[in-house]
Symmetry: C2
Subunit: 460 residues, 2 copies
C-alpha cells in the first residue's frame, strides 16, 4: 500500500494529552456544577435522520449540515427515482435527499427536542438535562471556528418558573468562577421587552430590523443607531418614543423603572419587565459570587427562537466574543408535534473558554500531570525488583509507571520530564541491596534515599 | 412546519440519564485504571479524510465506512469529472470518491496510527495513550451490534518490552475487577506460535486456513477440526505433527513445555513460546487479583494484524462474546509511512460489559443518584425561604434541587422518587416559623425535624 501523508480534514483537530487534560478540566468543572443543580446527563446519537434536522436552522443553516452518504448502492436509488419521475433532475439539491437520509447533528438543541418528544412517557418533568457532545457544521473554518466542536448545554423543559433563569445565572457564576475567571458579565434581557419596544411604536412586525439596529449601539453610538433606524424605515416619531429605551442607564433597578415608564402602553413589554425583575429579585436573595449581572436591552441573540429570557456571558479580562448564552423558548418541541412545553437553557462556549483560560494562564499546573512517579532501572534485574513495587504503588492509587529495562537512564529521566512526571525512583544494584531507593523530586532536583514504604507515604 | 414523528437512525441509540450514569461508571473506572498505569488520553476528530481510512479494513470493511457527502455543490464535481473523462461512469463505486472526501472513523486504531505519524515530533516515546470515543460502522444492526458505539482503547507504541503485555493483563484484571466481575479469563496467545505451527508442517502460507480450523476446537471437537483441516488441503501427516499442539493440555507451564517440544524445529515458534513465558513470568511476580490467565493457542483474532501477543477476555459468569481483546502489531504506522514502530494495545468492549453488568446486577445502586436532596415548598413564600438554603447546601458540594413553587406536594415527592433523590426537605409555614425543617429519607420513609445545619451535617 502506498503511504499517505497523513492529515486531518480542515476545521477538525486532534487533541494531545496536554490539551485533553485541560479540556477535561473545563468539562468536568462545568458538569459538576450542572449536577449540583440537579441536571442529569443524556447523550444522543451523532447521526440524526436528515428529516429531523432540515428546516430547523434556516436555509443557510441547512447548507451547513454534514450529510452522510447512504451506505450500499446509493446511486441505484437515484437512477430508480429518475426512472419513476422523468422530471427529476440530477443536481445536488434534488439528489441530496435521495442519496442521503442521515446527517451529523448541527447542535444539541434540536436533538434534545427530538429526545424529549420521543421519550416523553419515560421523562419526569420538569426535565433537567445536560449534554456535552460534539456538533458538526460545514462552515468555512477560521481562527476559533471549527467544523467539529463541543457544545456544553443545560436545559430544563416543563417548568415556567423564573427560578430556573435565576439558577442558570448562578450556574454560570459558579462554573466560570471555579474555572478561575475573575471578572465576567452575565447580560440578561427578555424577548418581551424587545417586543414591547416594537409595540409602543406599532411596529411589531419590524422587531428584527429594530433589534439589529439597537444591537449596534456599542459600536456606532446613538447617532449611528438613529441613522440605521431611519434607513430601515423607522420614523423620527418612532425614534423619539424609543430613545429613552436606547439610552437606558443606571443600575438594573433604575433601568427597569425607566423601561416600565417607556413601555407603559405595552402589556407584553411590562410583562418582560416583571420577569426580569423577578429573576433579579431571586439573585438578590442568593447573590452570584463573581459575575456582574447586567440588564442589556440590546441583547437579542437567537431572537427567532427565544420567547422570554435571553442570556449572554462575556469575560471582561480578555477581548473575546461571548463565552456563553441561552434563553427561554416556549415551544421548542412543537417542531416534533409536542406543543406547549416551555423550556429554558444555557450553553457554555468551551473552545472560547479554553482560549480565555490559556491567555490568562488559569489552568492549574497539576492539570497535565497524570503519572505521579516513574520507576527507572538499569537492567532486567532492576525491572524484576521494581515490578512488585510498582503494583504496590498502584494498589495505593498512585499513578505510576515502570520504564521497561534497557534504556539509558538519561532517556528515562527525559521521559519523566517530557511527561511532567513529578517524581522518579531510581533502582540500581546499591538500591536493591540496601532497600534504600533513590527518590527524586524532578522539579527541585532534590534526592533522598528512602524505603518503599517511606516513598508511598510521601506520595500519598 | 409539518410535525415529524421523531425517531433515531437504525442502529443508533439515545442514552437516558440512568443509562448515562451506568455508562459513565464503566468509562470512568476503565479510564482511572488506564491513568494509573501511565496512559494518557487523546481524542481525534470524528471525521477522517476518506483516503486515511480506505484500504485499511479490507474490502468488506471499506463498504461499512460511513462516507460524508461533500458540502456545497457536490454534483458539479461529478459532472466536471465526467466531462474530463468520458469513460467515467455514474455508479456508486466511481462516484463515491468524487462526491465524498471525508468519512466517519471506523475504529480508533487507524486514527491513532495517523495521529502518531502526524505528531511524531511532539510525542515522547514510548507513547502510552488511551482513547474513548464513538466509532461508526454501516453494519446491519442487530442485538448488541450498533452502527454507533464507543471503543475504549489503550495502546503503547515505541516499546518492544513484554512488560507492556504483562501490564495490559493487569489493567484488564484491575478494571474488570473494579467493575465487579468476579470470574473472567484473559486468554493469551502469540502470533509467532501460530506461525510456528504452520512452519513445522511447511505450510506458512496456509496459516489462515490452519487457524480458522483450530479455532473451532471448542465447537466441533478434535475430529471436526481434523476433518476441516483435511478439507482445507492439509495432509494426514500434517495433522499428526500438529495434533499435540491442538490437544494442548495442562497448566500454562505444561502447555509451554509441550509447545517447545512440538515447535522445536521452528525458530519463530520457539520465540513465541519464549515471549509467552516472559509475560507469564511477569505475572508470577505481580499476580492478577481476579483474572484467570490462560494460554490458548486457538486464539487468533485479528491475525492479519497482530505480530506478537494476542489477547481476548471472556467472562465466565454470563454467556457473552469476548468483552475485550488486543495484541501486538509490529508495523502499525507503516501504512502512513513511519516504519519500525512496534505497538501493543487492548480494547474494552464497553457495550458488552454494560450488558454483563446489567445481567449480574453489578451497578452500584448509587450510580443513578445525581441529586442528593430535593427541597419542596408549598408556596412562593416557602420558595423564597428555601432559596438561600439550597445555595448553602450547594456551597457544601451537596447536589440539591428546589422544586419551583406552585406544584402539589405529591407531585414534588413523585419527582423525587422518579429521579431517585434519596432525601427531601419539606418547608411549610410551621417550618419557616420554627426553623425546624422536615427532613425525609425517601427510602425508609423516616421523617425528622431538623435545623438547616443539622441537615447539612447529615447529608455530608
Amino acid at each position: 500500500m502506498a503511504s499517505i501523508k497523513p492529515s486531518v480534514p480542515k476545521g477538525t483537530r486532534d487533541f494531545s494529552p496536554a490539551e485533553m487534560a485541560k479540556r477535561n478540566f473545563i468539562f468536568d468543572t462545568i458538569k459538576s456544577v450542572f449536577r449540583k443543580y440537579g441536571y442529569q446527563q443524556i447523550e444522543t446519537p451523532s447521526m440524526e435522520n436528515l428529516s429531523t434536522l432540515t428546516g430547523k436552522y434556516g436555509d443557510e443553516g441547512d447548507k451547513l449540515i454534514f450529510k452522510i452518504l447512504n451506505s450500499g448502492d446509493f446511486w441505484a436509488e437515484a437512477e430508480s427515482r429518475k426512472q419513476k419521475e422523468e422530471s427529476f433532475s440530477f443536481d445536488s439539491k434534488s439528489l441530496t435527499p435521495v442519496i442521503s437520509e442521515k446527517a451529523l447533528r448541527y447542535d444539541l438543541t434540536v436533538p434534545f427536542a427530538r429526545y424529549v418528544v420521543m421519550h416523553q412517557n419515560e421523562i419526569t418533568f420538569p426535565f433537567k438535562r445536560f449534554q456535552v457532545q460534539p456538533v458538526w457544521r460545514a462552515d468555512r473554518p477560521q481562527k476559533g471556528r471549527y467544523r467539529e466542536f463541543f457544545q456544553c448545554d443545560a436545559d430544563v423543559v416543563g417548568s415556567d418558573s423564573l427560578l430556573n433563569e435565576a439558577e442558570f445565572v448562578l450556574i454560570y457564576d459558579e462554573a466560570l468562577g471555579k474555572l478561575g475567571l475573575k471578572d465576567f458579565t452575565i447580560k440578561i434581557n427578555n424577548r418581551k421587552i424587545l417586543s414591547g419596544i416594537a409595540e409602543i411604536i406599532d411596529k411589531a412586525d419590524n422587531i428584527i430590523d429594530l433589534t439589529v439596529a439597537i444591537d449596534k449601539l456599542d459600536k456606532i453610538g446613538l447617532d449611528g443607531v438613529i441613522n440605521e433606524l431611519l434607513e430601515r424605515g423607522f420614523t423620527q416619531s418612532d425614534i423619539e418614543k424609543i430613545k429613552p429605551v436606547i439610552l437606558l442607564k443606571g443600575t438594573n433597578t433604575q433601568k427597569i423603572a425607566s423601561l416600565r415608564s417607556a413601555l407603559s402602553t405595552s402589556t407584553t413589554g411590562l410583562q418582560g419587565c416583571e420577569e426580569i425583575e423577578t429573576v433579579l429579585n431571586y439573585l438578590n436573595i442568593s447573590k452570584p459570587q463573581t459575575a456582574i449581572v447586567e440588564l442589556d436591552i440590546t441583547l437579542a441573540r437567537g431572537l427567532n427562537y427565544y420567547t422570554g429570557a435571553i442570556f449572554e456571558v462575556k469575560t471582561n479580562e480578555v477581548a473575546m466574543g461571548s463565552i456563553g448564552g441561552g434563553g427561554r423558548y416556549d415551544d421548542l418541541t412543537s417542531m416534533f408535534g409536542l406543543k406547549g412545553l416551555t423550556g429554558v437553557g444555557i450553553s457554555f462556549g468551551a473552545d472560547r473558554i479554553y482560549d480565555v483560560m490559556e491567555e490568562l494562564n488559569l489552568f492549574p499546573t497539576a492539570t497535565d500531570i497524570s503519572t505521579q512517579v516513574l520507576i527507572c532501572c538499569f537492567d532486567k534485574e532492576g525491572e524484576i525488583y521494581a515490578f512488585p513495587l510498582i503494583q504496590q504503588l498502584r494498589a495505593k492509587n498512585i499513578n505510576a509507571e515502570l520504564y521497561p529495562a534497557g534504556a539509558k537512564i538519561k532517556k528515562q529521566l527525559d521521559y519523566a520530564n517530557n511527561k511532567q512526571i513529578p517524581y522518579t525512583i531510581v533502582i540500581g544494584s546499591d538500591e536493591m541491596q540496601s532497600g534504600q531507593l533513590t527518590f527524586k523530586n524532578m522539579t527541585t532536583g532534590e534526592q533522598q534515599k528512602l524505603t518503599a514504604e517511606q516513598i508511598i507515604t510521601q506520595l500519598q
